[in-house]
Symmetry: C2
Subunit: 333 residues, 2 copies
């Protein structure tokens, strides 16, 4: 049987209150009795039961991280950033994979509430009204990471996806490309992929290039989507460049093109987004927009912990800097 505070008290010949006091270093306790207690703790190999403590204090020192899929390339770094600062402040994290399934999201949120987490880092591509309602009802401290609520109802960490995409496409244009395709995840709502589409459109407009629906595809953000989508687009005629809403798409596009005997960047320029690990090991190395993934996680966690401690937030919506990384998948002018 594992020792409790009661056992320590008995062993040390004091009351549990005193033991609790030395444990929490609260009040002043006589140096001698403190020693006795410490001795008893050591002797019994006593460890505080945090579950009991949590019930009493109404704080668990654990934080939920709700994420689409940890095996999905961009999330591990975000989570690592978050866990690192959580660890600094003595919090632990409960990881929840939702696959963007609304029911799973809601289920996890409920369980997290029942397990009394002190807050949650939330990643999703859209805040459904019903989910938002649940969040309100649950009254949980929460920060949105890698996305921003359209109506700013939740504190958030993100980059300016629209601006970044616009910049990327203008970079492509500047390199002499005119006919530029877009391949992304979805074009509805307010998720990152849609915002990147907006940026793409804006760049075209700024440069007096007509938007052509035939040059777009939205089947998903994975490698396989890029692999397939480029075929559909290419079947309607060649393009100068492809702007992809994710690096995975870009890799699929390039591999697909290679199989057709089309060279990147010599024949077609391809640009990715995110700067995942594989982007710099891929051949050709991907020119892409780097999102500060680790920072998104760490800044988000820092923000959440501030909220938990009822500190004032300097900023409700952090918009982190991104970076255009010039590598080898776009033809130099």
């Amino acid at each position: 049987m594992v020792a409790s505070i009661k056992d320590v008290a008995k062993e040390a010949g004091v009351s549990i209150a005193t033991v609790s006091r030395v444990l929490n270093e609260v009040d002043v306790v006589n140096i001698e009795t403190k020693k006795k207690v410490m001795g008893a703790i050591k002797k019994l190999g006593y460890r505080p039961n945090i579950v009991a403590r949590s019930l009493k204090t109404q704080k668990t020192s654990t934080i939920g991280i709700v994420i689409p899929d940890i095996s999905s390339q961009i999330y591990p770094e975000i989570v690592r950033g978050a866990e690192d600062v959580a660890n600094i402040y003595s919090y632990n994290i409960i990881l929840c994979n939702t696959d963007l399934d609304i029911e799973k999201e809601q289920e996890y949120l409920k369980v997290l509430k029942e397990k009394m987490v002190d807050g949650v880092i939330y990643m999703s591509n859209s805040l459904e009204p019903e989910t938002m309602e649940l969040i309100k009802e649950l009254e949980m401290k929460m920060v949105l990471v890698e996305a921003r609520d359209k109506e700013d109802r939740l504190p958030s960490i993100s980059i300016d996806n629209e601006k970044a995409a616009c910049e990327a496409v203008e970079y492509l244009i500047e390199k002499g490309n005119k006919k530029i395709a877009f391949i992304g995840g979805s074009n509805d709502g307010y998720n990152a992929s849609s915002l990147r589409l907006n940026g793409y459109k804006k760049a075209l407009e700024k440069n007096s290039i007509d938007f052509d629906e035939n040059l777009t595809a939205f089947s998903g953000l994975k490698t396989i989507n890029g692999y397939n989508d480029i075929c559909v687009i290419w079947a309607k005629g060649p393009v100068d460049a492809v702007f992809c809403a994710s690096d995975e798409i870009a890799m699929g596009v390039i591999n697909s093109l290679r199989e057709k005997g089309i060279k990147v960047p010599e024949d077609v320029s391809v640009m990715g987004f995110d700067d995942i690990y594989a982007a710099s090991t891929f051949y050709p190395k991907l020119t892409t927009i780097a999102q500060p993934m680790y920072d998104m996680g760490s800044v988000g966690m820092r923000m959440l912990i501030k909220m938990i401690n009822k500190k004032e937030l300097e900023e409700e919506h952090y918009v982190l800097p991104y970076q255009l990384i010039e590598r080898d998948s776009v033809k130099k002018k």
Copy 2:
């Protein structure tokens, strides 16, 4: 204020015992009173407090996952596999990144114990005696994943690293390569990288090729290590092939070689290990040994949950199948 079982009892005009009964569907409770209770629960938006329940039942339905680094390519899939089955059985997971730092490992183990997790999935490259001692002292249910304790003190899930590496090197030999280098993480102890080195040696021996220390390097498992190590080896003279203890190393090697104007696989064959995501998107696509990462996580979690429920284990040490994936980084004979 969030409603408790007491509020529900009052609202329904029954005792908390009755509420608890309908909550846990235990004993028989009158259909009418059950309805009343259900109504009250709904009305108050009541949710059970799992922390309180855990204190009482001594079970938390949460499991710790201790891992070197979630952002390290091979772990996300393992974790995903683990979380998926945890979710099926209504467990949550607490994720802990240790960076293989022994102190961090021990600290996390202690906290996990204090938070009363029901068990832990443990990933590390070596079980230090002190860590093993702590594990014993903490009396936690634990399964070792992606490694096997030399003395089999802990249930484990792994592949036969030695055999896999041997097979990989023999494949290289079979393809006509004679001078084969090895680049790995460390050559001490009993971790995966060392076992792969053993397999490499065994394959050489079986084929009457002398082991040459000059053809080996052990600076680490990352891309940068492969990138640098191959330079050192190559400086002593060219080789026919390189067997790498990780795909990341292999990618570093290939990129480094490419910069020297040496082509893979035309001039040198390179083989990786793990089959991480980037292995199949890399150019050239990596010939490698595929570890069933998702399965390691899911089988490990299934095993752990069995242990938690005191079910008999059919197997104390699962050795999962691996697979040699022929792609494009090794020259076809």
